[in-house]
Symmetry: D2
Subunit: 423 residues, 4 copies
């Protein structure tokens, strides 16, 4: 595939000149473009195993051909993305959807494709066929000790599987909550959740981290136990130094200033993970950057500041795309998401931080905006494309994917009615 | 069942006195309680066939025992609700989920249970196994003539089935829209929809009505073709006098003043149908009155004004409950919904309209609020209970349902793993 | 005035019977009505000095006659409210709007009317004529040390004034934030705010408490430094045991589950104060209970649980009404607000906590809702009226206020163009 | 000033090359850049007279130096903007704030500066000192005939003034509504409004148009009579062919798909005017493009389609900026707004409509997004700058404004405490 990509890259005749011109311009503006290239080269975003098939809504699901039928095939799909983009060298597994029957074989497949295992995800929002207690009324927060214990043990199992695979973190997304006023005692539910998380945390290996996700609603429509970052923060703070908050871009109420939350969590050293997607209404799980690209840029502005200028506060954040693909080819959707992330990141890296700092110090609000928007309005695609080209990837991943007829090959191999595990 | 209900009613020893006291008090305040009793007795709300089983979210579904396995059993379930409440004498069918193989037999079952057939609902948001074209990218608004034609014909089929059953209206809920900016040409999609609706309308029998539902989002998360009442109104107005807008309480953006929309549609003579439910975030489909009972009361305030004081404008509105039951027994959920509707309606009927009118004329804002809240704060349950008792129903439907062990009997008969068709 | 009120009370001929009936019924249901009466008698809500005149919007203000012209007259107004309701024995001052030139005289006036001084409020969101530095770009979070220092000193001044008056708490509402992306460094702004609050906290007398308010937006429309309860909590936690979060009902994004926030803050022992009002869109500052009375009830459900059943966690919460009166007589508006608060509180006290606990333990969601709504649907007004009558107040405060022609007298005394200080 | 601008333009040494490269690239992609240049040259956006001074919130206002003290000075300010940008050749007056005592003199000043008079705006949301009846409880919708008549006559006066000045349209923004449930009879209020608008419409000169604005809330916080585009549309449709809906970007509920509304109104030939601004929460009136630049682009995508591809539907739309300037120099804020509008318009003009059409016809969702985002990601600033340079304006308006020290000169001339009429 690498040779074919390389050949297609040659068709982009203006690429070299575009890159040169952009780099010249940015350097003139005081931007160290080598640092930019380095930064975006090192930026790797994990692909969740459940995002490789068609997604659905409660109203239905329109299947897509060539979906991966096994964990091995999911790893192959991630490898395709990584080969094209050089930015997706990890997969994030979901247990039990991705339970690896033969761990060694899986490790070998992953190793062959140079794909790492990112955070492992537990699932206590669905019942499994062989499960003793139901999670209909909650899991870690449940009124019954037995149900809580079952959910705790499931999380410990997930850690154990993760350890074997080389994963270094556990993501807990808790759907616990209630649909109706009165249904739950909020205070008891929070206390139960804290106690349960402590028990899971106690089993965390020394070099692991635990990410606690928050979400205001869905699948519960009145109350979620971990409804916002504040609740997640309190729980993580209580658990200890290896517990962090995880931000999913779609898990906020209308109009939330997410970039401010990101900044606060970094400021307190508690930003652990990030789920990228985009949305207009709720947890819409749309392609990253398809609805609010400027918000994405503003979030990366905070991330860049936290990582490069506030130091120490946020090393080792776990990046992942968490989207659903109702009407697009999942792999194309992910290629668009990866591209949008890198573009926003690059734009943020091209902000003149010194000038911004000075404008802020003098409360020159107009200039602050000019500086930010100058970076945002800059067409940084050539530099992202160049990063990929240098790494052996595609200048234009989507078009290359299409030229290489990847989907058609997958359909041929896997059939048009295969269905990936997931939602 | 009627005798058992009657026996249980006798246990409510304070009922008679409660009724008498409330009636005395209301009469003293100038409310004609006979008119109130008449009005609520005549208020009948249809039960959708798809609300009799457990609902779900995209994250999963927790099944419930004793779900109806056939259309006949669905009619039986509605009959149970109607027997207990005297307020639910109709069922609203959804084609193809409720395709009646043997129409005569179905009519007989319904007739036996004194259940009518309310509006029939078409479905072009899911693909059926034997379907020629997919609705993945739309139906009545689709770019392809063939797909639109298929969807039009499906709607005409639904009308035909409805005619046989004695239904008098068609509800069109169109999920058409797009998930991403650029995906659809809004203008063409609207025009296609209008053309398609006209063709369906042309097949509407003389004594039928067509209801056009609107919804801002879901299952599409960027753009819905009929996103708001204004779009529905324009389409209905274009189709003709038998086309109306249908309001579903959950189909609005955050903070929408729904009662104002209801008033405007009645003012223009275009309010055709109503789907009751409640929600905190989006189309949550929760039990009516469980989240915002005061909003429900304010809506009934408009409905009462439109029906009794503005005359003519809104006869014959089609009432239906459209909720989903993720954590409650579906029948209990519907009993709570029916009760909440009747309580809100009764409260609205207890507003002193003459006093309210005078207070408004003199801009006495404080008094306006006092008048409204006096009615809302009045405990009108005895009068609702009395209406049911007079009709042979239960003073307390939920507790009676439990005492009669209805669910247990249904589970025994239908099993604990039956699954109703629907979402 | 007391005799006149007592005379008017006699006109409510059904009152005694209504009270008796309600008490009988509640006692039958297992509610200790003496405890209820005690609880609501002890509930005292402070009136903010700035809510006694007409409010306005950025589009204008329609003045009201008889507004208080001085702090003395503001205290008189609060006294009127307290005499009528027995529930408003305190005033909350705002410095510099209410700067008491002659402290002793003010104390005497207050003492005469048996009005206490509740939390004192600082103001760093407006510039005062004699002020050295402007707060245009912030105060406690400002990039400039001098501005921050000025704002800190102002808060210390406010504490000093409060001490002289017998106040025991300081409320800090910080409007600091930015209108445009890029304008502020979020992280620095938060750190500056924390440092400033620490310095204010250091001057807090031993028996004082500091309340930190949060708000998502307005008057800044992009970013607020203390945008949510999480940020307030972190700051309060950092300051120490005497620092708490203050919840204003209007300071939340659309659809926020506020009762869950209230529960969490009580659970952590960090709920310090409460500003009552109601809203449909943003910080609308409408009459309490005029838009979402059920939400108010649900919040009181948490407060009752926290105060009576979770013990210790939330003694001594500072209650205040924070509303604006654009189209109502301010005193009538406040009377309606006080009534709505007491009704919601009483309803919450009438929840059968034992039954609710049992229903929750068995995940009987339907029953949980029945128990809550039973309390909400109960017409508890007689018991609230009786509490007032027993205390020498009015059975019906609004109608009594009107019969006594209080506003007319105030206009006669103060003129129809007086303007109270405030917004 | 023209010579100075021309001199400063010379400092932008890369400009010519940037323009050439961009034009080459766009032409290669099939974009007719001459048409683009023509289109953006012809795009003229009116400046509202009330946006030239500092804005405020209900919490206060921080004044700005050099604000225009008279209508003449306001025209001068607009002239400065137009000279720098070549895109703002009109002013929109607000009566009575801009009542022209000497019409001839004003016309002369405007003519001298080549500034036209765009839509005139009436004001029935504030009371004027000499006014007979108050608008506290409404104007065109008021329960009292006398108040409605006064408001109608005011609008007719505004038309008369506009006629003298050469204006060709009237904008009616009606703040009428209610703050509390019960306060108003929705149906009567709507009917009164319709009757009042008809009477105003009857006085509209033949070559005039009437624009009816809508807004969901503020300054009323429960109900607005014209709450949404649907209501405005119905009213405009009822009035006649010269009545249109006006869209203000800030007048929508959270998450509204505004571009869909724009498309629908154009489709029905009823889009009359446009007020540009940006917002995160409500009617925040922030600089255009400062919060959601992609949404602005998507709106222009609809406008371009309607104007160039759907023909006829929307000639002669009245463009205006309607922002408030709380923390920025008003003229700089407007320069940023004008720039953002032109950039979004240019990007939309650079969409390959043919390719987009084809992608839509084949439901290639991924490609549709690629096409749109390609245009959005293109740095079109050189072409906007070139349009300005060709017209004698500034390549970089903000920096030129600063270099020319315009604000300093205005302060010198007008003083630092002048205050423009307006909000």
């Amino acid at each position: 595939m690498l040779q074919e990509i390389s050949d297609i890259n040659l068709e982009y005749k203006n690429h070299k000149e575009d890159v040169k011109r952009l780099i010249d311009r940015l350097e003139n503006e005081g931007i160290n473009t080598n640092q930019v290239l380095d930064a975006i080269k090192n930026f790797q975003v994990a692909i969740p195993s459940w995002a490789l098939g068609a997604g659905g809504t409660r109203f239905g699901r329109f299947p897509f051909g060539g979906e991966p039928r096994s964990l091995e095939e999911k790893i192959q799909d991630v490898s395709i993305l990584n080969t094209l983009t050089c930015s997706a060298n990890a997969i994030s597994l979901h247990i039990p959807w991705d339970y690896p029957e033969d761990v060694d074989a899986i490790i070998q497949v992953a190793s062959l494709h140079k794909i790492h295992f990112d955070a492992v995800n537990s699932n206590t929002f669905q019942d499994q066929p062989d499960q003793k207690y139901s999670y209909k009324y909650g899991s870690l927060s449940h009124v019954s000790h037995e149900v809580r214990q079952q959910a705790i043990e499931h999380n410990i199992d997930v850690i154990n599987i993760g350890e074997k695979l080389g994963s270094k973190s556990l993501t807990v997304w808790l759907s616990d909550g209630s649909n109706f006023p009165g249904q739950m005692n909020f205070s008891h539910a929070l206390q139960n959740t804290q106690n349960s998380l402590e028990k899971i945390y106690a089993h965390l290996p020394d070099d692991w981290r635990m990410f606690i996700e928050y979400k205001p609603y869905e699948p519960n429509f009145y109350h979620n136990v971990i409804q916002d970052w504040g609740t997640s923060y309190i729980l993580a703070d209580h658990c200890g130094d290896k517990a962090f908050t995880l931000v999913d871009l779609g898990h906020h109420l209308p109009n939330t200033n997410i970039e401010n939350i990101v900044s606060t969590l970094m400021h307190k050293g508690k930003l652990g993970g990030f789920h990228f997607n985009d949305s207009k209404y709720g947890d819409d799980d749309l392609t990253v950057g398809s609805i609010k690209p400027y918000q994405l840029f503003l979030i990366f502005n905070e991330l860049v500041f936290g990582q490069f200028y506030a130091k120490n506060k946020c090393e080792n954040i776990a990046w992942m795309i968490d989207a659903s693909h109702n009407v697009k080819d999942p792999l194309e959707d992910l290629l668009q998401s990866i591209d949008a992330i890198l573009i926003a990141y690059t734009q943020a890296l091209c902000i003149n931080q010194k000038a911004l700092h000075d404008a802020r110090e003098s409360n020159d609000v107009v200039l602050c905006q000019e500086i930010l928007q100058k970076a945002f309005r800059t067409d940084v695609r050539p530099i992202v494309n160049e990063m990929r080209r240098l790494g052996g990837g595609a200048i234009d991943p989507i078009m290359t994917y299409r030229k290489l007829q990847v989907r058609q090959q997958l359909v041929q191999k896997r059939g048009s009615t295969s269905r990936a595990s997931g939602l």
